[in-house]
């Protein structure tokens, strides 16, 4: 056998070997899809790479935000590189050069090479030969993969090709993993930090939207919340934490919990924001802006406190608009020791309060006041129904734009108290007070006397209590209340979808006599689909 023949056979064997190795690589990278955690994935890949290329070391460095430095993300045989948080400027040294030139770099013998690694670790460990290739995704270098040998070794073209092949797959896996992580952040944000659904409150219609920024990595710190404060009031929050990504989302979650806790045991919107500011000062993390408003469900009185946040918009039923700018203070975390005051307004029937974050009104190259004017214009011409209004506002204000910042919007509307009133009351005892206050307001709005108001308050409350007690029991349901006025005669129907049971105890039967005492006429109509109570009383106007 000639040396040539031997050489040829060796090469053929090596080639066959390489095919098997390649299959290994494929198997590894394919199974790598199963890893959600990038570090687990890279550890596995480096194991396989050192195995396949028979090298002593392997490492992945990724380009950091800003693109100027490479940081070691995973290493085998050079673990300290990661532990010490080693960073290489792009363009300098061995890895820096690979990233800068986007070409493979081979160092046959480190002792005699012109290019030297920046990291002294290679010498400490006794690495002699190195091969590095760029990690490229869609034409962008995202990092470097390199392997090293403790004994001098020639890396051949075949080795380079093989490593580049692995690198391409690694790069794709990294990118996929990053996107997955980004997606998870966004999903977590949506799922856990925003209300899954808004509470149902008699006399109010609410709607909210959250629009993430177009760029995945810009998933940010906007949030909204609705807090049921107890028997007769409700709190609304909208806020925006500076910055983006996981850190902003985390701080947002902390603020959200904090304001919920303060809201439940602190009287007054201004006091709640003052406490939240104190909390932020202690956290010393980042700035945030927030608006907190409370609404009294029997008077529809609103108290608003604001920390550096855009002005809430009050849209009156007649179409006029007003930005609520009277009370305010600096953003949370901007200046310590601040006290926040509050602005009081009273909502009239059919009014809408619009809370939003700056993403809705800030446009590059235009003034904030222009954004506000556009919002007021769109809000007053959009459909009245809150869901449709939210939809129209966000659609029209973001038309043709790439959403650079995330957007949150929360609208709260009081029902109209015209001749016809229709509301849905959650079948819970805690909602009775709200239901009777609402009917009282409706009777008042339709020129009923104090006696009329009191009469309907008790009759409607009793009828609702019957539905809650007899029709639904412990399971949640809805009671429909419909009030109409025809020729001075007020008629209120209370409809549920259950069958009334026999009273649980004798005392509970007092509801109907009570209704009869205060109404001109009471009828109870049980049907297959539910029970309807009809209450009629002529309003004693101008008595």
């Amino acid at each position: 056998m000639t040396p040539d023949q031997t050489n040829q056979e060796e090469r053929a064997a090596a080639a066959a070997d390489a095919v098997i190795r390649l299959e290994d690589v494929q198997r590894v990278t394919e199974s790598a899809l199963a890893y959600l955690d990038l570090d687990d994935l890279l550890r596995e890949l480096l194991d396989r790479v050192t195995d396949i290329l028979e090298t002593d070391t392997a490492a992945v460095l990724l380009i950091e935000e800003g693109g100027r430095t490479l940081a070691a993300r995973a290493a085998k045989g050079l673990e300290e590189e990661v532990e010490r948080g080693f960073r290489v400027p792009v363009g300098r040294g061995f890895a820096g050069r690979v990233a800068f030139t986007r070409e493979p770099v081979v160092i046959a013998d480190l002792d005699q090479a012109a290019i030297q690694p920046v990291n002294p670790l290679f010498h400490e460990k006794g690495v002699r030969s190195l091969l590095g290739v760029p990690l490229v995704v869609e034409g962008e270098v995202i990092g470097v993969l390199h392997v090293g040998s403790l004994t001098p070794r020639e890396f051949h073209d075949g080795d380079i090709e093989l490593l580049q092949l692995v690198a391409n797959r690694v790069a794709l896996s990294i990118e996929r993993s990053r996107l997955m992580v980004q997606g998870q952040i966004a999903a977590t944000l949506q799922r856990s930090l925003l209300p899954r659904q808004l509470p149902q409150v008699p006399g109010l219609r609410m709607a909210a939207r959250y629009l993430p920024a177009a760029d995945d990595s810009a998933v940010g710190g906007d949030w909204y919340d609705v807090i049921e404060l107890g028997d007769n009031s409700i709190g609304f929050v909208i806020g925006d934490v500076a910055g983006h990504g996981m850190a902003a989302a985390t701080f947002m979650g902390q603020l959200r919990s904090a304001i919920r806790a303060y809201a439940l045991d602190t009287d007054g919107a201004g006091a709640v924001i003052t406490k939240l500011a104190e909390f932020s000062d202690r956290m010393e993390t980042r700035m945030a802006t927030v608006v907190y408003a409370t609404l009294n469900l029997s008077t529809w009185g609103v108290r608003i406190a604001r920390a550096g946040h855009p002005y809430p918009l009050l849209l009156r039923a007649d179409g006029s608009t007003e930005f609520l700018s009277d009370a305010g203070g600096p953003p949370l975390g901007a200046v310590g020791g601040q006290t926040y005051n509050e602005q009081a307004v009273t909502l009239l029937p059919g009014d809408t309060l619009v809370l939003y974050t700056d993403g809705l009104i800030e446009r590059r190259g235009s003034q904030l006041s222009e954004g506000e004017a556009a919002l007021a214009e769109v809000a007053s011409t959009a459909p009245d129904e809150p869901e449709l209004k939210c939809q129209a506002i966000t659609t029209r204000l973001t038309e043709g734009l790439t959403i650079a910042d995330d957007i949150a919007i929360l609208t709260v509307q009081t029902v109209g108290l015209d001749e016809l009133l229709e509301v849905e009351v959650p079948a819970e005892p805690s909602q009775l007070a709200t239901a009777r206050h609402l009917i009282r307001r409706w009777v008042e709005a339709n020129q009923g006397t104090d006696d009329d108001c009191a009469a309907f308050a008790i009759a409607v409350s009793e009828a609702c209590a019957n539905s809650i007690e007899h029709a639904y029991g412990p399971r949640d349901g809805i009671v429909h209340v419909r009030a109409s006025l025809v020729d001075g005669e007020a008629e209120v129907t209370i409809r549920d979808r259950g069958k009334w049971r026999e009273p649980r105890d004798s005392n509970r039967g007092k509801g109907i006599p009570m209704m009869e005492e205060f109404m001109d006429d009471v009828s109870v109509e049980p049907t297959e689909k539910g029970t309807t109570v009809k209450l009629v009383r002529r309003l004693r106007e101008g008595r």
């Binding site: 007769n232 439940l264 009775l432 007070a433 009793e462 209590a465 005392n507 007092k510 006599p513 009570m514």
Partner: protein, 129 residues
Amino acid sequence: MRPQLALLSLETQGDIELARVAGEVDASNVDDLSQRLLEAVPNRARALVLDLSETSYIDSSGISLIFDAAARLRNRRQQLRLVVTPRSFVGEVLAAVSMERSVAIDAALDDALRAVGDSDGSGGSDGLD
């Protein structure tokens, strides 16, 4: 503070237990009120005076509470007196169910306290004085 639909305040005046309910009473808070009210009346108390002059709303569940409390106290030979402002909403509701036939009602707190005292004077336990 988390707003409460009704606030119950209790006070002991000698052997009279005085309970004031301010706010609204309905199915959402009646069980809680009922329990706290009955726990507040010790065996040695001669009477419970329930002051409803600051109560702005009461429904049939609140009426039940009063009838129920009256029955329990009667069994224990204890008196119940209500203080209700005449022509108020609560007054009308109590009139609608003829409450005055089962439970003594006074227009002012002083009247109620005096009435308990008087009944003591004419009752059988004045041997202690």
